[in-house]
Symmetry: D4
């Protein structure tokens, strides 16, 4: 975590058991050299801390908050109700319902208080979306995103070439 | 609404558009002569008011809170995170998903912070459940519940007799 | 199990295979020093025993019944149809449908006969909800619940501090 | 309803509001001249009546019970737990979930206590299934079923001929 | 398998990979001394064989057919369209959708051609349902079913006693 | 319907009540001047007719069969099990489950017997898919499809221009 | 539509039939005085136009694209694969599946190419999210958002007061 | 992969991680001696490559394209929007939602642009469907398909005989 005066993105997760998935947001933010902080705070188990954190985040100039939670996943919504800038929700997979509960609890927000939901467990995409949001006013970040997406294409192209070279039997070995 | 000093049950709904369904909770509470108050307060659109209300409810001796919300239905959960006594959630039907989003958002709470969920749109049952909770320490209410359930049986029995008397053709006319 | 004269909570499960999950309700009741008993009785395989048990439970002054069942999970509903005080349903996870069958069978009760449903497999929350119900007329229990919820916040706060101290790479090791 | 000494099929519905759908079971039984009775009795609102009815049904020689209920649809299961002969469940459509709640509550019975579920709202098929069960030991009924199914084919064939004669434009007018 | 002249029940499965689940139907039929035969025949991969088998089954006096299939599970429906006596469908669990596809394909039959569906993978219940159907005209079988259900209750009761004796900690060891 | 010697596409529907939706397949085939015939035949209510029809279709040189059915929608699968050329399935919407039952029953076919499923109620797309299949060996049809898709783009473009010209307020009037 | 040189937000819908819902995004953008343009372009019916539009949007300095589509809703994803700044997806309700198909097609994007999904039909929230994204680098917009959210609370508060004044009977009249 | 001048079928997968499932399409094409090529190209990560590939495929005379993708599975739809001949979609299973997201994203295409969807992970069936499409104008392939389906029946028949010979106990060993 970068603890400079200029932290732009906050990653909040409802439980530290989400960390093995959620850390992918941190990894991609680091790759793009975007400063962030990462905390554990629950909408239900530490509601006052969550509220205080959101208020401080706003004062400290945080621009985007990523919130990850599972089940009755209220974290992103609670933050969005107190934060005037974009809140990205990561619906966490759940053992019984696969995360469809988390997805509905994250995305089906009432008029006036949007959450930007990414896919179930899609922490990496939450990070990229945060970067794209910052890139709206940061030409360098925009260029990096363009380059990143070109790299995705390149990597896919190389896999395809390798598959055509080796044939599927050799490739799957 | 009864505005006495001794209000036992609070009914909170996220939007006044829920009232035509949610009022059934008030109706049954009145039938059992249980004092209540009914307000509109949203987890997302008026989060600070909701928080203040819950804190005041606790001070004023409210024993049970019924919370009705739809979609990413966080209201019951938000209240439960600040209230030490039972919170009953009514998942409201939604036009697109029928209320399965509301149900998951209401019932799938994390360990430590339960919500007592009733069925989709089941405001009457929320009221009865509140009465049953109060009946734990109120013998008179318990007797009324026993009588109420006996009445349900009686009413069903009478319909059955009428059906057997008339036959289904006459009955469905 | 406490077998005193003053048992307040009954935990009923439809099959002893549910015990590894359902025991969490017992554990939390013990933590709060709430007397309880725990039995196996099925709505379908031992319906007469279940009926007799509910009638005896009422005579013996049991205040809350927790019922856990899976699939076409009728146990909580059957008990609720004979018991005038709160019945809490735990929908058990099922291997094929994840417990969505159990959840619907538990929560979608007809008007007049509510079941207070908690989340799928949420035995701990069932126990806490039972305690909150008893706390309505027991100031000591209410204080314990308040302390318990404060502890949840404290524990989350400590994890967050540790995460900020160690960073996510060290933390996930 | 036929009130002879020789009633073979009982139709039980949880609510008289189910009658407009459930009566189709009665209609087809009448068409096949199978004696039946039809009553209203709820697993939740009149559980003792339901129990008494099932015990009397067994003594009076009823061979098949058709049970229709919606939501947390326990009626067929409760009857099956007390009745040693076939119980056919009709999961009733529900306004919010379309009847998927009723279907799961009807069909997902535990090992040892089967319910024979037909489709959502499929009262006619419940009646035909009851007839097929009786036809196992009634050659005349079996012949009628064979004739009935041949008629289904004939009727479909005639519609197809008419469609080919008229063309789809004329046919849909 | 019993290959006598008097086979009453046929068990048909769409694929031999279903056998580890479907055999439970055979086991319970043997327990009740009901003669049966068990074959593999697919609605899609061997449709002509399936058709011939159903026609022969009818001539040979088979009274009930149990059909197990998964995915687009047409086997029970195809048999029901050619067989005038009861057809019981077992929707097999599927790796991706848990068997909800099989359940819908089995139970949602059109008016006129019912299938008696049991729960997902519920082969044992399919066997018991077949026995209950035969018991309609076989007093001995009916008595056995009554005894079987009493045994279910007894076995549950014993587990409950053991649990109360040992306590849940000892029991789950 | 075209009754020439050279019919290429057959449209089969399980019930004439499907015609108002299914006729869209006929309309588009006429638009592309592809000869077709349209019949009513049910997998369950007229299974022998269906079988005979499929066998005759193959002899008469029909190249593609479109099959529309709802609920436990076996029609496309039954045809596919007897027909060596492409079978296109239209899962019909159902009043209770929206057609998700039909979709699963149509698309989840076992290995060896594919059905080409289009979307729920997507009769027009079934017709276009049939045309695309014929276009594999018919250059003129391929050209028509290319032109058809260009027209789709053109029509969309014109709507966009109109919207930009009028503004959304005027446009929605 | 504002056709200035400085358009910040683009609203793209797959079909003009989406306009009655999607226009709510335009209405809220106008309320916040954010310049936008609104077009019809389909991922499937006019793919080349969509591609050209995205490329031009990027050159012309558009900062956020809102994309609305239903069913196999690829529009937002297709745009996101070519656009380096935030893409907001509105999953449109569908007549058969309620929009759960659109939601999954919009939100479940692969790693590397996020779409920010809002709720089903939530066009207003899409507009607000676009504003929040722009507000990251526009203090005036941020203030407006803060004021907007305070107004939401105020409006809710007033409804609650009115409800307490009138009582639910008068209020629902 | 066959790289002749006469390639008829293209298999495109969104990610090389799909290969272990998708290769079954290649295997069956080889078994029928149908020339094909197999590549990796993503609708989202390499959209320009995908577009170029589809345009080249059309010029090179490819007759059928099989496209496999998971989650927001747009690959088949994107190809179908640019290709005038049949596109077969394979919805890949997903870890959280089982592939229901992929299925909806593949099959629910808008009017005018069909995708022929097979079942979840049903790569083998995608291959067979491609062969059936080619068989429309290739009598030899049609004969092979007839023989293939006869073999399916034969193989099922042999398993059934073995089961009857051994009994289920021996067979499942």
């Amino acid at each position: 975590m970068n603890k400079g005066t200029n932290i732009l993105v906050a990653i909040v997760m409802g439980s530290d058991s989400d960390l093995p998935v959620v850390k992918d947001a941190a990894v991609i933010l680091e790759e793009f050299c975007v400063s962030y902080e990462i905390i554990v705070s629950s909408a239900h188990r530490s509601p006052d801390d969550t509220l205080k954190y959101v208020q401080s985040a706003r004062r400290r100039g945080i621009s985007v908050i990523i919130a990850a939670a599972g089940g009755a996943a209220h974290l992103a919504g609670v933050i969005a109700s107190h934060f005037p800038l974009p809140v990205i929700g990561i619906p966490m997979a759940t053992p019984q319902l696969g995360g469809v509960d988390s997805l509905y609890s994250t995305v089906q927000m009432p008029p006036g208080v949007p959450v930007a939901s990414v896919g179930i467990n899609a922490a990496k995409n939450a990070g990229i979306l945060a970067i794209e949001i910052l890139a709206v006013s940061d030409k360098l970040l925009e260029k990096k995103i363009v380059a990143y997406k070109e790299n995705l294409a390149k990597s896919t192209r190389e896999k395809s070439k390798k598959l055509q070279l080796l044939g599927y039997k050799e490739y799957t070995k």
